[in-house]
């Protein structure tokens, strides 16, 4: 077996990889934040009383759930500047293009998850909040949203993990994220296993860190007086499952 551990550890600690990881994290966060905002807007439009708005939301989901992320990346990076000359400037970086493409993509998925979350909130909740005299904005922010967020945490966390990995696609539009860094290291050294394994370790670590974060968030949404500290993960999951 040929596996040079010193090359592996060198790659693991190299500035190139660390920079790549930073770009991966930044792109993931940016794409998720904008994707969630888009998703929330589209989900609310889908529930709108206006037929045109509902139609726009439906079309958005229809198109951007159908297009492969990779195609979307090429469309935004290569196709869009051809149609919109303003995007030909240097400012339109691979990072911006990837953020746009992946946000749009995530928006379509998040919209469906959020719509499901909204539907899961009992109709009586809105009724009681309105009866109490809460304004429409507060009915949503104080009563509907917390309950919606709770049920959307697991599926949206899934999306977050997917996004972390999808960012690697941006290497094809020359974004120097984690996978691109390992690519270029490999192309000069031909040490495939060492460099790719180092990248794999980073992805594993990133996802693991996120899993801890997710557990922390879920803990805040366990609505029991004892708090969740005394509960095992299994009990928490069970509580999540039984509330609705």
């Amino acid at each position: 077996m040929e596996f040079d551990t010193s090359i592996f550890f060198e790659a693991l600690t190299s500035p190139a990889y660390l920079e790549g990881v930073q770009i991966t994290i930044a792109l993931t966060v940016v794409a998720m934040v904008f994707g969630l905002i888009l998703g929330l807007v589209v989900a609310l439009l889908r529930g709108s009383a206006n037929r045109v708005l509902r139609g726009i939301a439906w079309t958005y989901i229809w198109i951007f759930r159908a297009l492969p992320s990779l195609l979307l990346l090429f469309l935004v990076w290569d196709g869009l500047p051809q149609l919109v000359p303003a995007l030909k400037g240097d400012w339109f970086s691979a990072f911006i293009a990837a953020s746009v493409a992946l946000s749009i993509n995530e928006g379509a998925y998040a919209a469906e998850i959020i719509r499901g979350g909204l539907l899961s909130v009992d109709e009586g909740q809105r009724l009681a909040a309105r009866a109490l005299g809460l304004s429409p904005t507060k009915v949503f922010s104080k009563v509907i949203a917390p309950q919606m967020i709770r049920v959307t945490i697991p599926p949206l966390s899934n999306d977050f993990v997917s996004m972390l990995k999808l960012t690697s696609l941006a290497s094809v539009i020359s974004l120097q994220e984690l996978l691109a860094r390992s690519h270029s290291a490999v192309s000069t050294t031909f040490k495939f296993a060492e460099y790719y394994a180092a990248a794999a370790v980073y992805y594993l670590v990133l996802v693991s860190v996120f899993m801890v974060v997710q557990a922390q968030i879920e803990r805040r949404f366990v609505w029991m007086s004892q708090g969740s500290s005394g509960l095992s993960r299994v009990q928490r999951v069970r509580q999540f499952a039984t509330i609705r």
């Binding site: 009866a131 109490l132 005299g133 507060k138 104080k142 309950q147 007086s225």
Partner: protein, 281 residues
Amino acid sequence: MTQQPPVGHLLDEALLGEPVASTAGGADEFVLEAVGLHKRYGHNEVLRGVTFGVQRGDVKAVLGPSGSGKSTMLRCLALLEPVESGEVRLEGRRIGVREARDGRLVSLPERVLARERREIGMVFQRFNLFPHLTALGNVMIGLTEVRDRDRKEARTIAQSMLARVGLAERERFFPSELSGGQQQRVAIARALVMNPKVMLFDEPTSALDPELVGEVLAVMEELAREGMTMVVVTHEVGFAKRVADRVIMMDAGSIIEDAPPDEFFGNPRQERTRKFLEAVD
């Protein structure tokens, strides 16, 4: 009879920090009136001209088979559903609508309706407590988010009210950790701290286990005793007999009988009422 928790003074100026709205004014005045309410869902005419009034301090019990429009009527009174025609009056003032240029009545925007709903308390069959808030949080939210009380003040009021409905020890509990009877008492407290002029109850004990009905009725009876104006849709004939000043019978979207309880139960005028009472007993 199971043991009832102690129920304290509920309509208390000192507790609310402001004069009690429900008992202010003349006793024979109509607090809430429905005038010719019509409501339809698609082709289904749910309310066919409902007219009645509740005088200050009175308890009006509403009986009737399911599907007769009782709950819809209550929702229309609470401004939760727009009506096709007719009007709702609170202390003689028309609420929920404004007059358009052509003289027709149009429903006010939700934002404005929200303000008008503060005066009307509503309790639901399924409690509808907010599951993400503790018992205390459920009672506080209206004070902080609607009545603009600061949190400290709201907490004090909510704590006292929970104590008065016998739930002082449960304020830190979430709805999922409370029994049905406890949840419904929190729901009543949530409505009461808003200092409403009238309370509407939509089958408040129908979703409860039989042994828990008493603790909710005890709170409602205390409220009635203290002079709260109430409209209670219920299947509890006993409660209607004991507490109501007048009993209404609804059938197919209309009020077919409106009488004091002894007359209503002793000698109903309508054959339909007689049949219904026989079926319920």
